[in-house]
Structure formats: C-alpha cells, structure tokens
C-alpha cells in the first residue's frame, strides 16, 4: 500500500472508526488483565473471548461488503473461506498438542488414533510450523477463490446464478468435511487445543493478546478495503456493479477486476477464520453450513451495504443480539426476535443502519446549509475540504 493510497483512504469517518477499534483493542485487554476481577470497569475474560469472536465476524463482514457492496458479487459461500482459514489454523493448533493428546501420540491427533490412521496424511505435513500454517490461512482460501472465480467470472456467471453456485460450493465442502475419511476430524472437527506459539490458548493473557490481534487485523482489513475502494479501482468496481457491460465497452476487463476483489476478500475471510478458531476453541464443518454464509451477508445488510463501517457494525450488532436473546427468559423466542430484526431492517432501513444514518446526516447537513447564513454555511462545507486538502 503506497502512502498516497493510505492518506486518500483515511477520511474523517474512517479515522474515527479506526481510533475506536484501536482503543478497544488496547483498553479491553488492559482492563481485563490489570484491573482486579469483579470491579465494574474490569472486562471479564468471557467477554474478551466473546468480543474477540465478534471482531473476527466483523472482518468477515468487511470481506463480504467489499465484493457485495462495491462490486455487486453476492457470495452465499463466504463462510467456506472463513472456515478454510479456520481449519488451517486448527491444524496448526492440533499439531501443537503433541503428546498431550488423550492417547499421547506425538504425531497423530486423537481422532486419527481412534480411527486407526497409521500415519499422518500428506496434507497435514508442515502444519506443525506456524509460518506454514499462517501462509496456508491466506493461500488455501485465496487459491480456492481464485480458481472458482476464474471459472465463474470468465464464463460470465452473474447474479443469482453466481450466488447459488457459491452456495453449492460451500455445501459441497460441508459434506466433504463431514466425512470422517476426509481426515479433518469429521463432524467433531478440530478441538481441545493447547498452545499457540507456545502460549496456552486458555490463559487470560493469550486471550487478551488474541483479542488485540483481532482488532489489529480488523484495522488492517479495514485499511485495505478503504484504500481499494477509494482508489480508482474502487470506482471501476462500482462502475461494474452499476453497469457491467458499459464498463466492458469502456475497455475494462471486468473478470480480472472481479477476480481480484473476490480473491482478496477470500483471503481476508480466511484470516478472520484463523483468528476465530483459537478464541472459540473449535472448528467444525458446521462453519461451512450455507446458513452461516447467508447470515454473514445479513450482517452486512443490517449494518449498511457498501459502507464498510456498516458491515463491521452489523456483524457486531447482530451477533450481540444473538448472544443477548439466547440467554434468560427470551431463550425460547430468540429466533422470533432475530427473524423480525432481519425483516424489519430490510423493510424499514433498506440502506442498513449506517447507510440510513449517512443519508439522514447528509440531508440534515443540506438543510442546515440552506437555512444558515452563507458565511456559516461556508465553514460547514469547507470543513471536509480541509480534511481533503491534506491529501
């Protein structure tokens, strides 16, 4: 990322958002570790884990918003890339267990022992090294997305057809990973992790660190997305979204653009998954379930399609609602609430929370500009330009 892209991508909203994420990333772990347990300001560990999960979801949401909000590619299979990243990390964590597995086998994970694997399958090689696993977190989802996109975009599969085959992709992976012979622990998936880079995954310190790391990842992901959408490429993407064939007649190779963002987005989803696994402590095929991917899309819609910040916000809001509704007296009825939320948002806030807020803000700004005296209005208007001239 070259400096001019960075500066260009940092408008006021983005800066504030990043500031707040950074603040959470620093303050929450600190309060969790330093303050005495039980004091009101101390964030209990379970909340750190919980919020860590939300942050990972937020990254996934960003990834989806990048392709859906800006390029009109509705992927109903993005959970697959998330899960693949998760599995890559999970495999690393499994290898770290070593002889501490229930059968004390130094090489084979427990599930392989009781399914009588004689030796480690070839595709498990290398995952004992963190750098390799970390690489795979990006490469595996990226490669799948690239091959899939290369086929689909070249043959101009668009709209619902694309959505449905992405769904078919994740569904096929779901079934594949369910199979025990597939060598990824079948339905039970990968779990009972011990260490990550030598730190105990359950230690409060590790959790706090993972949380901070997730926030960092969110910041990076956001910066990447911002600098992509605020570059000329971003304009091209929107052009493709709004009038695909027009952009072709202007000489843009649409498929390459789609392929680029699709792959980029898949890699981001992979990273999200990789950070998600050590914090929730399990990765299992149900992450491939088409329902999950659809829900992820819904987060974006709730927060506001094509606003990035909205996507992240939507992920947090929806998942927080889920956490909140699934406990206590509401538990038996939480699906009503969640369902109602989705319906109402699509009906009443078609632009999502942030989108609606933006247009309301712009509206009110215009009004203010109109009513206020010209001089005052000048200031009001020039302000963004100041932020602008910084570029």
């Amino acid at each position: 990322m070259t400096p001019h892209m960075l500066t260009r991508s940092l408008d006021r909203g983005a800066t504030i958002f990043l500031a707040i994420v950074a603040a959470c990333g620093i303050l929450i772990p600190l309060s969790n570790l330093l303050l005495p347990a039980g004091s009101f300001l101390q964030v209990p560990t379970y909340l750190v884990a919980l919020w860590g999960k939300y942050v990972c979801y937020a990254i996934l949401a960003l990834a989806i918003d990048l392709i859906w909000g800006y390029c009109g590619i509705l992927s109903l299979g993005h959970g697959a890339f998330f899960a693949l990243g998760g599995y890559a990390m999970g495999m690393y964590l499994m290898r770290q267990i070593g002889t501490r597995g229930v059968y004390g086998n130094p090489i084979l994970p427990d599930f392989m022992v009781f399914l009588n694997y004689s030796k480690l399958p070839w595709y498990w090689y290398g995952f004992d090294m963190f750098w390799f696993a970390a690489l795979m977190v990006l490469v595996v989802p990226g490669l799948l997305a690239f091959c899939f996109g290369w086929l689909a975009f070249r043959s101009r599969v668009t709209g619902v057809y694309l959505s449905i085959i992405t769904q078919a992709m994740t569904y096929a992976l779901l079934l594949a990973f369910f199979r025990n012979d597939f060598g990824f622990g079948g339905n039970n998936g990968l779990t009972d992790f011990k260490d990550i880079l030598g730190f105990n995954v359950q230690a409060e310190g590790t959790r706090a660190a993972l949380f901070a790391l997730s926030c960092l990842a969110l910041i990076l992901a956001f910066l990447i997305c911002r600098s992509v959408v605020s570059s000329k490429l971003g304009k091209v993407l929107i052009a493709i979204r709004d009038a695909e064939s027009r952009s072709r007649f202007l000489g843009y190779r649409v498929e390459s653009y789609k392929l680029f963002v699709f792959t980029l987005s898949a890699c981001m989803a992979g990273v999200a998954g990789a950070l998600y696994v050590p914090q929730v402590g399990i990765i299992n095929p149900s992450e491939f379930a088409p329902g999950n991917s659809i829900e992820a899309v819904i987060w974006v819609a709730v927060g506001g399609r094509g606003t990035l910040i909205g996507a992240a916000l939507g992920a947090v809001v929806v998942n927080y609602a889920k956490t909140f509704f699934t406990s206590g007296m509401l538990a038996p009825y939480w699906l009503f609430m969640l369902g109602a939320l989705f319906i109402l948002v699509t009906l009443l806030l078609p632009k999502g929370i942030v989108g609606t807020f933006n247009s309301w803000w712009d509206q009110s700004k215009e009004n203010r500009a109109a009513t206020a005296a010209s001089a005052a209005a000048e200031d009001g208007v020039t302000e963004p330009d100041m932020a602008e001239s910084a570029q």
């Binding site: 570059s231 929107i238 007649f249 202007l250």
Partner: protein
C-alpha cells in the same frame, strides 16, 4: 487478437454477409456495409430493423452466425470480446443512456479516460495534471462543467445523453458508434448535438443510428436504411427518403 498480414480493405469498418439469428428469428440477414476512415454515417430504419443488433456485433456483444466484420481492414472483430474491441478504439453510446449513476459526472469521465485499464494500473492510480485537464476539456465540450460534482443519476435525460457522448470523447476511440443520441431531446438540444457530432467527426469516424429525420438531415451525411436486418437503401438523405421501398417500409404496406 489476430491480425491479417495485409489490409483486406481500406475501410475503417467493413461488414460483409453477416448473419445472426436468435431462436430462429433472423435479426441480421446478409448485412454488408463499409465505413471509410473519417466518414460519418447515419443509419436509419424502422424498429426491429437490426440497427442495435448490428452495433452489438461490431462491439463484440453478439457473435454473428456467419459473415466478416473487419476493423481498420486488419482486425477480425468477430473473434474478440467487448473489452478487446474497446481497447482497439471502438466506442459506443447506448440507445438508452447508460452512465454510472451513483458516481459523479467527472468520475464518469475519469473512468472513460483512455489510460491504463489494468487492475494494477487503477489500484495504484494517482490523478495526473494531464488527466484532469483533458477531463475539464470534455466537460467544456459537453457543457457540464458546473455539474461536474453532481451524481450522474441526478442529471436530466438530455444531460445524460451528452455525458455519455462526453465519455466517448474521453475514451477517444477511432470509431464512434452512437445509438439514438437525440432521443428525448428538445429541438435546441438536438441542434446542439448535431453540431457536437459534426465537431467530433472532424477527428473521428462516426456511425449514428437515429430515427429523427430532421436530425439526420441536419447532419447531412450519407444515410443507410436498414430493414429486417439487411441494407434497404443507401445514399444522401434525399435519395433514400425518396426511395419507394423505404417509404413503403416506413409508411407501412
């Protein structure tokens, strides 16, 4: 792209014996037509005459079942896709004005500018003086300088038509295909458009499809009348409009 070693023809655009049919319906029927460099040609014809389909073929949107389509006498367009053809220097304005409604006027032009269109190029793009100047120039020509920061979607129908022509200019192609540029324009706008096209024709080869006879007359260029996907008559506007078959086609049988 596949280039023939020798120019098969001097023509800028050369169509010969082109056929295309959708589910049995013959949209284009043994269509032959040549367009010399620097020429401006008006294409007229009733609805369903195959005007737009012809443009689809030239711009690679539709592949003909048979026939030759040569650009610059060397390039066989039937083998290329839209992007490649656009890169070769064929610009197109659609019948229904299609601009990028959710982006500002000048971004529309920026996107149209004939510069590096690769992913890398656009990703690391940074605005240059030359670019902004050429955009300003185009804005002048299409009289949209004041509206430069308005969203294209908020423009009037006529302004959209012009913006799209402006995008063609920014694209700076060798050959412009202009599909019904004055549809839904006031007489004044129509007149101005005619002037604009003539201006453009000084430096570009242009093919205009239009119903509006007064407009075509104002252009005062060679006219080709299509009917049922084949050339019915060719010549000056007066010759064509006095041709019985043309009259028959237009006034119905």
């Amino acid at each position: 792209m596949n280039v023939m070693d020798t120019r098969a023809t001097s023509a800028m655009l050369y169509l010969d014996g082109v056929h295309v049919s959708f589910d049995g319906f013959h949209a284009i029927n043994n269509l032959s037509l040549t367009l010399e460099p620097g020429e401006m040609r008006a294409i007229i014809g009733p609805n369903g005459a195959g005007k737009t389909t012809m443009m689809d073929i030239i711009t690679g949107k539709t592949k003909p079942d048979e026939g030759v389509v040569l650009f610059d006498g060397v390039t066989d367009l039937t083998r290329l896709d839209e992007t490649r053809i656009a890169e070769l220097g064929i610009g197109r304005k659609f019948q229904k004005p299609t601009v990028f409604e959710s982006q500002t006027v000048q971004d529309n032009l920026l996107l149209a500018l004939n510069v590096d269109h690769s992913v890398k190029g656009t990703l690391f793009w940074r605005g240059s003086k030359a670019e902004s100047e050429s955009i300003d120039k185009v804005l002048e020509t299409i009289r949209l300088t004041e509206a430069r920061n308005r969203l294209a979607g908020s423009l009037s129908h006529g302004q959209k038509q012009w913006l799209e022509i402006g995008m063609l200019l920014a694209q700076d192609p060798k050959l412009l295909l202009v599909d019904e540029p004055v549809a839904g324009m006031t007489d004044v706008e129509t007149h101005l458009t005619a002037e604009l096209l003539k201006e453009i024709n000084k430096t570009h080869t242009v093919m205009v499809v239009e119903h509006d006879m007064t407009f075509v007359r104002e252009l005062g260029v060679k006219v080709t009348c299509l009917h049922e996907g084949t050339v019915l008559a060719e010549g000056t506007i007066d010759q064509v409009s006095s041709n019985e078959r043309v009259i028959e086609v237009y006034l119905g049988r």
